[in-house]
């Protein structure tokens, strides 16, 4: 298993903030809207540098989505920012009609996804957002793995004329991808080639999968690890190429099993290449208060659970 150098431990939301700030300098059409969470979303740099292109909308997310659609009609590239819960479930119909169906160039940027927002508890810990967003025609769904990749993804989506859901989180996680990597929307990233099993991971669970890969290597299991940062459109070719070789799959994500990355890969494999598969994801339950590490363990999302899932799936080959 390849070694990945951790440059630092950083929150992915700060990658979003840095990317947005850079876009502010390079793309005059980029505008930003925030629903009273400017600090939490790390949008304060953009707000300070470009006050004329930043809109504080207050705690009114439905209006924020409509405003963004209208700004997009007028030729702007709006980035909306709030927690993932309020970015999706709260405003589903607004996104469906005014953004997705109307095919407006709006970037819905969502922090604090999943249980790892921690102590605030289940009211804020959405685990259904990927599913909600990927079901919408026209919507692209991106869930980067670390600070550098989130920054790169933020910059990349500005030049991609399409509705986008960009998902990131609150906790500090290992930052291990290169700051100079270009972000290619829709392209799966091979992190490690192996022969016994493929782990498809998304978001910060990519790091958990790397740690699992090292543990499994010591046990003599050769892991192929692929980072699926774009859940829709799914890189079907890369997935099938890998699974043809390994013939066993584990998916890993901080999301419900229903509707997440694993669900997308199950659909693909059931149609094209039926293969034993295990899912590391939340099994039809809400979260609760706790520290991010405690919750990762409690809901079966950490490296140990990925190792166990690999051992289960290999027995089914």
């Amino acid at each position: 298993m390849k070694k990945f150098e951790v440059q630092n431990i950083k929150d992915t939301r700060s990658g979003f903030g840095a990317g947005l700030s850079e876009l502010g300098k390079t793309n005059p059409n980029v505008v930003a809207l925030c629903a009273d969470l400017t600090g939490s979303l790390k949008m304060d740099a953009f707000q300070k540098e470009h006050p004329e292109r930043f809109y504080q909308v207050g705690i009114a997310e439905a209006n924020m989505i409509g405003l963004a659609a209208g700004l997009a009609i007028g030729g702007k590239i709006p980035f909306t920012g709030t927690f993932a819960n309020f970015s999706t479930g709260r405003v589903y119909d607004q996104i469906r009609q005014s953004v997705a169906y109307s095919n407006k160039n709006v970037k819905i940027c969502a922090s604090h996804a999943g249980v790892t927002l921690g102590e605030d508890g289940a009211t804020h810990q959405i685990l259904e957002d990927i599913g909600l967003m990927k079901m919408l025609p026209n919507m692209t769904v991106i869930n980067p793995c670390d600070y550098n990749q989130t920054k790169a993804a933020t910059i990349a989506i500005a030049d991609y004329e399409n509705p986008v859901y960009l998902r990131f989180g609150r906790p500090a996680v290992p930052n291990f991808t290169s700051a100079t990597d270009k972000f290619e929307i829709g392209k799966a990233l091979m992190l490690n080639e192996g022969t016994d099993v493929t782990i498809f991971a998304t978001g910060h669970l990519v790091w958990q999968a790397i740690e699992a890969g090292h543990i499994l290597a010591e046990k003599g299991i050769s892991v192929e690890l692929i980072n699926i940062h774009t859940i829709k459109p799914l890189d079907a070719q890369a997935i099938l190429n890998s699974v043809r070789k390994t013939r066993a799959v584990v998916t890993a994500e901080e999301h419900q099993m229903n509707g997440g990355l694993g669900d997308s890969i199950c659909q693909l494999l059931a149609r094209e290449l039926p293969t034993p598969l295990e899912m590391v994801a939340v099994n039809d339950s809400f979260g609760q208060s706790g520290t991010p590490d405690e919750l990762m363990k409690e809901y079966g999302l950490d490296a140990a659970h990925i190792v166990a899932a690999v051992e289960r799936v290999i027995k089914r080959k």
Binding site: V31, E52, R53, Y55, V57, G58, A60, A62, N63, M64, I65, G66, L67, A68, A69, G70, L71, A72, I73, G74, G75, K76, P78, D93, Q94, R96, Q97, S98, Y101, S102, N103, K104
Partner: protein
């Protein structure tokens, strides 16, 4: 600029289109469409600075959004009659593969439609967004919205009202079709506003105007006042009194005609009350 008499004649033809479209589709929403026909005719044939060649971004022209998308027959007729697409296409309303969907949509690329509407309460937000884009561009043209009064029950509108006043979106002119009717009955019975709409919007910081939606002269004068009021730091709200189904004698004022199609004999009876002025499609 079109004179009052010609506008009235055009509105009569638009109303014939509405009834024939809804009859042809055997479904649709004639009541509100008929009620707002004078206003939307005036808007497209007199008030708006607009280009029927249609640019989605609406730069350097006025932009109109229909929030109460169910009155699509009216919107489509006015767009066709003002040159956005062929009038003959009106006969495809609500049919399979038509660009004239039951509620306005952009997926089929119908010229004149910039956003889907139908799920209520979203138009003011979208319009405010486009108004912000115009401000960023230094474009002095205005953004107009038509919405229903029943639609005021949707909470998102009040978010948008608060936002537009707070952020001084003063290039935005919202007209509410104040006909007092919605699907289940009168707006007062279904869910009253608990006070005067004028007082509420004034309290939110909007400039308020009143308009008689069935008096073409008054519509033109009021819209001129609204244009003059733009740019003064406040968004503008026009309370337009109309009657659902106007002026068809057996439809007028009743919520019954919100969302049903006229029968063959209903259509004949209704068309007899509306002179043909531009030839039927």
């Amino acid at each position: 600029m079109t004179d009052i008499r010609t506008l009235e004649q055009t509105a009569s033809q638009v109303r014939r289109d509405i009834l024939r479209m809804v009859h042809g589709a055997k479904s649709g929403h004639p009541g509100g469409s008929l009620g707002c026909a004078d206003f939307l005719t005036a808007l497209y044939f007199n008030v708006l600075n607009h280009d029927p060649k249609f640019n989605m971004n609406g730069k350097n022209e006025d932009v109109f959004f229909l929030s109460n998308g169910h009155i699509s027959p009216l919107f489509y007729s006015v767009l066709a009659r003002s040159g956005y697409f062929p009038v003959e296409e009106l006969k495809t309303f609500r049919k399979l593969h038509s660009r004239l969907q039951g509620h306005p949509a952009t997926a089929e690329h119908l010229p004149g439609v910039r956003i889907a509407s139908g799920s209520l309460g979203q138009g003011v937000s979208v319009a405010a967004g486009t108004a912000l884009a115009k401000k960023l561009e230094g474009d002095k043209n205005l953004v107009y919205v038509l919405m229903g009064d029943g639609e005021l029950q949707e909470g998102q509108n009040w978010e948008a009202f608060m936002f537009a006043a707070h952020h001084k979106v003063d290039n935005l002119i919202v007209t509410v079709d104040y006909n007092g009717q919605q699907i289940d009955g009168s707006t007062m019975e279904v869910l009253g506003l608990g006070g005067d709409i004028k007082d509420k919007l004034m309290a939110f910081g909007w400039e308020i105007l009143h308009m008689d939606g069935h008096n073409m002269q008054n519509i033109i004068e009021t819209m001129a006042k609204a244009k003059n009021a733009a740019g003064n730091g406040k968004p503008i709200f026009i309370i337009m009194k109309t009657e659902m189904g106007y002026p068809i004698d057996f439809m007028v004022g009743s919520h019954k005609w919100h969302g049903i199609a006229p029968s063959d004999s209903d259509l004949e009876n209704a068309l007899a009350q509306l002179p043909t002025t531009l030839a039927d499609y």
